[in-house]
């Protein structure tokens, strides 16, 4: 009876519409199963045994991606309690630690963030030392460099959100760098040359730093800006580029082999 039942399930239109290929019994079907699945098709169909040795890859790319998922899930949970306003931000952080069940959720997010930065650096170090940035993988190296920058920006924007003294002054110091942007920062090279009718167009109320922090000093406007960038803007771009990154690994011939 179970045989009949499972047969009627696997023969049904619902089942077939989801699993086009059926049970992969040979190499051709295995390849088709990979190609026909939106998640699996990002992954190479074949992986060389030598290419996935722990001593060769350190599994640091996979670890970085795993930590990205950890950050996404813990971050989503934190968003249910955290309110990005001057009145509530710090109180909600204390609440997350003292009163909310599983008070380590924020700690998981924070430690995961530190670990992700370390994992990304080690991944890049491994890729560099194995020469995996060389053609045909040079494009994917560049995607990886952008992903490194996005990882650091995620850490930077997340740093402000606890809204304690460390956060405010760290972001004050960090965002002061934007003053020195060429042409677009009010203390940057060439900014004094951008004039209209003798009036400077780039000043403390109109430069790159002003757009970044939404004012002349770190305040409520900065908090909401960094919150949106941290929770939506940068993760969206990062998720897209991670997909491109994985797909390119496959298109560039899989994980590079040992030399």
């Amino acid at each position: 009876m179970i045989g009949n039942l499972s047969k009627s399930v696997t023969k049904s239109q619902v089942w077939k519409s989801i699993f086009r290929v059926g049970i992969p019994t040979d190499n051709r079907k295995r390849a088709l199963a990979m190609l026909g699945n939106v998640v699996l098709h990002l992954h190479p169909i074949k992986v060389k045994k030598s290419g996935i040795r722990m001593s060769y890859t350190w599994c640091m790319g996979g670890t970085a991606f795993f930590l990205f998922l950890v950050e996404t899930i813990t971050g989503l949970l934190l968003m249910f309690y955290y309110r990005p306003t001057v009145e509530y931000a710090f109180a909600d952080i204390v609440d997350l630690r003292e009163a909310v069940a599983f008070g380590i959720m924020r700690e998981l997010h924070r430690w995961g963030a530190h670990a992700m930065v370390i994992a990304v650096w080690l991944h890049m170090f491994r890729v560099f030392m194995t020469g995996s940035y060389k053609p045909p993988r040079e494009f994917n190296w560049n995607v990886g460099v952008i992903l490194l920058v996005l990882t650091l920006l995620l850490s930077f924007t997340g740093y402000l959100l606890p809204w304690d003294q460390l956060a405010i002054w760290a972001i004050t110091v960090g965002s002061n760098m934007a003053r020195a942007t060429p042409l677009l920062g009010n203390e940057g090279p060439g900014a004094a040359l951008v004039k209209l009718g003798g009036q400077r167009l780039i000043h403390a109320g109109s430069d790159a730093r002003f757009a970044l922090i939404g004012g002349r000093t770190i305040g409520g406007a900065t908090l909401i800006r960094f919150y949106v960038l941290h929770c939506v803007g940068i993760p969206l771009v990062a998720a897209f580029l991670i997909a491109v990154h994985f797909w390119r690994v496959r298109k560039d011939g899989g994980i590079s082999g040992p030399m």
């Binding site: 004050t172 110091v173 757009a211 004012g215 002349r216 406007a221």
Partner: protein
């Protein structure tokens, strides 16, 4: 349609498309620059000159407006409370007679000139003047005077105390 006609229409279409996209991008960029700031005004009144006795660093306005009003050696001037190293807020230490930054330890004399820590230059001074209406001191933080540019001798950088 002639070949020439096709290309002129294509050109019009591409120019229109470029302008539309450019307009959208400009609008979105402008959107990120707020018109109203929920910040203290950059220009404000702090009281009459006789409210600031000689030799005293006035710390009443530092929390809200970020300036100290100092009366020293015959001049009243407004020091901007932003460390010239990396932008932290120094504190006035009365007992040690100096400004000290908590972030990296930069120290400044009462005049604002640096003497210790990593900071490369003195504190900046804000424009200071006396209101012709009520004789109160007006501090305008939007105009700054830097020692290393020789701007502290500018008549707008201090009030000569009576």
């Amino acid at each position: 349609m002639t070949r020439r006609g096709f290309f002129s229409w294509a050109a019009v279409a591409w120019v229109g498309f470029t302008l539309a996209i450019g307009g959208c991008v400009s609008a979105m960029t402008r959107f990120m620059f707020p018109n109203v700031l929920f910040e203290p005004p950059t220009s404000f009144k702090v009281g009459r000159p006789e409210d600031f006795p000689p030799g005293v660093v006035d710390t009443r306005f530092v929390d809200k407006f970020g300036v100290w009003i100092v009366h020293d050696q015959g001049r009243i001037y407004a020091l901007i409370a932003i460390c010239t190293h990396l932008g932290c807020p120094p504190a006035w230490l009365e007992t040690q007679n100096k400004f000290k930054c908590p972030c990296h330890g930069s120290g400044y004399y009462k005049s604002g000139v640096n003497f210790e820590g990593p900071t490369p230059r003195p504190l900046e001074r804000a424009k200071i003047s006396i209101s012709p209406d009520d004789g109160q001191i007006i501090v305008d933080k939007s105009q700054k005077f830097q020692w290393e540019l020789g701007q502290w001798e500018d008549p707008n950088a201090f009030i000569a105390a009576a």
